[in-house]
């Protein structure tokens, strides 16, 4: 037992001496969390719009005017023709161009029907889709407005601007639970928090044993009477402790800086954080034990991390992935812990709700730590 304590003491001393690393380990997650939470935002704002008005009538000008002073759009100016519109899209000076063709007002009056064209830069498909949706909503509003005022035709619809639109007889009401204002930060912060823990905890642990190998101090440890499990436990403890400190800092930032709710039990979330840290450090130590150089270890961790992060559901829903990706995801600890984070923090789920995640994470942690101590050899 005392041997473990000495081992832990040694690890802590080494950590404390490496001030650069220590500072990075504690400051980086907080900074990253703040930066990323602001950056991680799928909302589409500040769209650059240009307008080609080939009609030059009152209606055309009024329609164009609708885009000039509206929050989501930034009006870039008028263009002479569709060809220059394409040029603007090529040069990225506009995200979308509205083309009002000649005889727009005449057609609207005479034939009760006119069309406008919307050119959208859709290289980023999601953004393009949303941008086009916004623009169409504005045109629809304009359409409804001219109808009512000019002919007194009542479109029978819901009040303008209501997103839950429905015509006569049916009203669909959307409610977004647990995050009613659809605040992206609330949604992203729990996920980013755990992602950073995996990134930092796993990385540092992965480089640890292999570093001793590389600089030769491993041999010194090998000739001591320390047992395998004592060695692994001694390596594990400091990282898990530091991880818990990181987690606390992150949670503080989340709570007081981003006002994310903490609906569930704090004890439960800490229990899960502890379990997850064991798992991260276990993974790191395992990779460390099988690598020969720090470089190898680092790349192996990095490879795992990239796959874990991309499949974790941090950016896109895990349920919409193809079958093979969902099978892969069965082994993705980050996926489970992000589910836990969102469910417990935002919805107040209990241990009973999260039991399958609990047992999966527990099993994974045990397997990884077991493998790490098994693979760790006291011979060179």
């Amino acid at each position: 037992m005392t041997r473990i304590l000495y081992m832990i003491e040694k690890e802590f001393k080494q950590l404390r001496r490496n001030t650069v690393l220590l500072r990075m380990m504690l400051a980086a997650p907080v900074l990253q969390l703040i930066l990323l939470a602001y950056a991680a935002n799928f909302e589409v704002k500040n769209l650059k719009i240009a307008i080609v008005d080939q009609d030059h009538t009152t209606y055309a000008q009024r329609l164009a005017g609708k885009f000039r002073y509206i929050d989501n759009f930034r009006f870039q100016g008028y263009l002479p023709n569709s060809k220059s519109a394409y040029q603007e899209l090529l040069a990225s000076r506009a995200d979308l161009v509205l083309v009002i063709p000649p005889h727009f007002e005449r057609d609207l009056g005479k034939e009760d029907r006119a069309s406008v064209q919307l050119l959208v830069n859709a290289i980023d498909g999601t953004k393009g889709g949303i941008a086009s949706g916004y623009a169409q909503a504005i045109i629809r509003d304009f359409n409804a407005a001219i109808r009512t005022e000019d002919i007194g035709f009542n479109s029978d619809g819901p009040p303008r601007g209501s997103p839950t639109s429905g015509a006569a007889g049916l009203d669909v009401e959307n409610q977004y639970w647990y995050n009613p204002r659809l605040e992206y930060k609330t949604f992203m912060v729990p996920g980013i928090l755990f992602e950073l823990m995996l990134l930092i905890g796993g990385m540092i642990a992965a480089l640890n044993i292999v570093r001793e190998k590389e600089i030769g101090t491993q041999e010194q440890l090998n000739v001591t009477p320390i047992k395998k499990y004592e060695f692994i436990l001694g390596k594990l403890t400091p990282f898990v402790l530091i991880g818990l400190i990181q987690f606390t800092l992150g949670l503080f930032v989340g709570k007081f800086f981003f006002q994310i709710p903490i609906e569930g039990s704090l004890l439960l979330i800490y229990g899960f954080a502890f379990l997850f840290l064991l798992l991260c450090v276990g993974l790191g130590l395992l990779i460390s034990a099988v690598s020969d150089t720090q470089q190898q270890a680092m790349f192996a961790v990095f490879f795992c991390l990239v796959i874990f992060i991309l499949l974790s559901g941090l950016f896109s829903s895990t349920e919409d992935m193809p079958q093979w990706a969902r099978y892969l995801n069965l082994f993705n600890p980050l996926k489970y812990i992000i589910e836990v984070g969102r469910n417990v923090l935002l919805k107040g789920s209990t241990l009973r709700d999260m039991q399958s995640q609990f047992f999966t994470l527990l099993g994974m942690a045990m397997v990884l730590i077991g493998l790490a101590s098994w693979r760790y050899r006291k011979t060179v």
Partner: protein, 370 residues
């Protein structure tokens, strides 16, 4: 010169001998392209929903059938009371609950009184919540207009004809392939160079090199050259995967694209050199590359999240991230098919950045170890 070549050869041997690292170096871009290309979709398929039908009328049943037969939704549960909703959401499987209030069908049939229907979405999974409600609303509205029977088109109709320029099928690959390219190039060049140099310092072999007749510049360039080549090959592999596997068009000039790739690789190498002049251990070098280079590149370069929506401060930060310019260039050349006449600005920025970084890191080089 001969000595220099011998040194470069030695470095190549070092890299080629480490099979595992090599495997990961080339496996990584492949894995990323595959994951992004085929796993990360935002299409809704068989999303699990629950229904709380307090009406039990014909219309509530028909709307439920419509939703389920659309292929987007899959019924997991019929709820009894409003209170079940919270419990269901907390277990985390169901993301959308459709609520038909009592007498829904009656109200719906009478038509002059507004019938109400609720869609409750679990917005702790925000993106899913938004798309699920949008899909469900569309299906319900379609049902409604069918029931409304013969609708004559209203007067003064403005038709909007949207045209999705450059990417009519709205494919995600158009954004992420340039992003993955920037990421991998940066990773291989900056991370690898900074780590190898730190490694020589850490294991003490740097001293051996220092006393060799090679000048310090030769040592550095000898270390950098193999990685320049490796990353460039990696870049080409990603372009090929994008074009042949994911059918991304290559509308612009290939030589220009390759030249820009080389430029960006060079820039990343200068960054790696700069880090290595500061970092003494591999761990520090790695952390610096990871936190200062890689994470911001992923999040702030417009690769995953649109830059325009960020707060102004972060928009400024994204301006000093080289990858945002490179991504703009790659998109421009491959998809828009434009040339230097429209891309001279970002190219110039990349050139300036490389020159600046190279100058700073050469100035920071210390002629001897402490």
């Amino acid at each position: 010169m001969n000595r220099f070549l011998a040194f470069v050869k030695k470095e190549f041997f070092h890299i080629l001998r480490d099979r595992r690292t090599l495997l990961i170096l080339f496996g990584m871009p492949l894995a990323m392209v595959l994951l992004f290309g085929f796993a990360l979709t935002n299409e809704i398929k068989n999303a699990k929903i629950a229904v709380l039908d307090l009406d039990h009328g014909p219309h509530s049943r028909q709307i439920t059938d419509r939703l389920l037969s659309s292929g987007y939704f899959q019924l997991t549960q019929n709820l009894r009371t409003y209170r079940d909703v919270d419990a269901t959401f907390r277990r985390g499987k169901v993301k959308l609950v459709v609520v038909f209030p009592p007498k829904f069908s009656q109200d719906f049939a009478r038509n002059f009184e507004s019938a109400q229907l609720q869609l409750l979405a679990d917005a702790s999974e925000q993106n899913t919540a938004i798309s699920l409600t949008a899909y469900a609303t569309n299906i319900i509205q379609a049902y409604k207009s069918e029931q409304n029977a013969v609708g004559t088109s209203p007067p003064m109709q403005i038709d909007v004809q949207p045209r999705m320029v450059f990417n009519p099928e709205l494919r995600g690959a158009f954004v992420f392939v340039p992003g993955v390219m920037a990421m991998v190039l940066l990773l291989v060049s900056a991370l690898m160079t900074s780590v190898t140099i730190a490694r020589e310092k850490e294991t003490g072999t740097m001293e051996v090199l220092m006393v060799s007749p090679l000048s310090q510049l030769q040592i550095l360039f000898g270390k950098v050259l193999p990685y320049l080549l490796l990353s460039f090959i990696n870049g080409c592999v990603i372009i090929a995967l994008g074009v042949f596997l994911l059918n991304i068009p290559l509308n612009g000039s290939l030589p220009l694209l390759l030249a820009e790739t080389l430029l960006f690789t060079f820039l990343s190498l200068s960054l790696g050199l700069l880090i290595s002049t500061i970092a003494d251990t591999q761990l520090v070098a790695m952390f610096a590359s990871l936190l200062v280079l890689l994470m911001p590149t992923i999040f702030l370069s417009g690769f995953i999240f649109p830059i325009e929506s960020m707060p102004p401060f972060l928009q400024y930060v994204s301006k000093i991230i080289p990858a945002s310019y490179f991504i703009e260039i790659v998109k421009g050349i491959m998809i828009k098919g434009i040339g230097l006449n429209l891309l001279w600005k970002p190219t110039l920025v990349l050139l300036g950045m490389s020159a600046f970084l190279m100058a700073v890191s050469l100035r920071n080089l210390k002629p001897r170890l402490e």
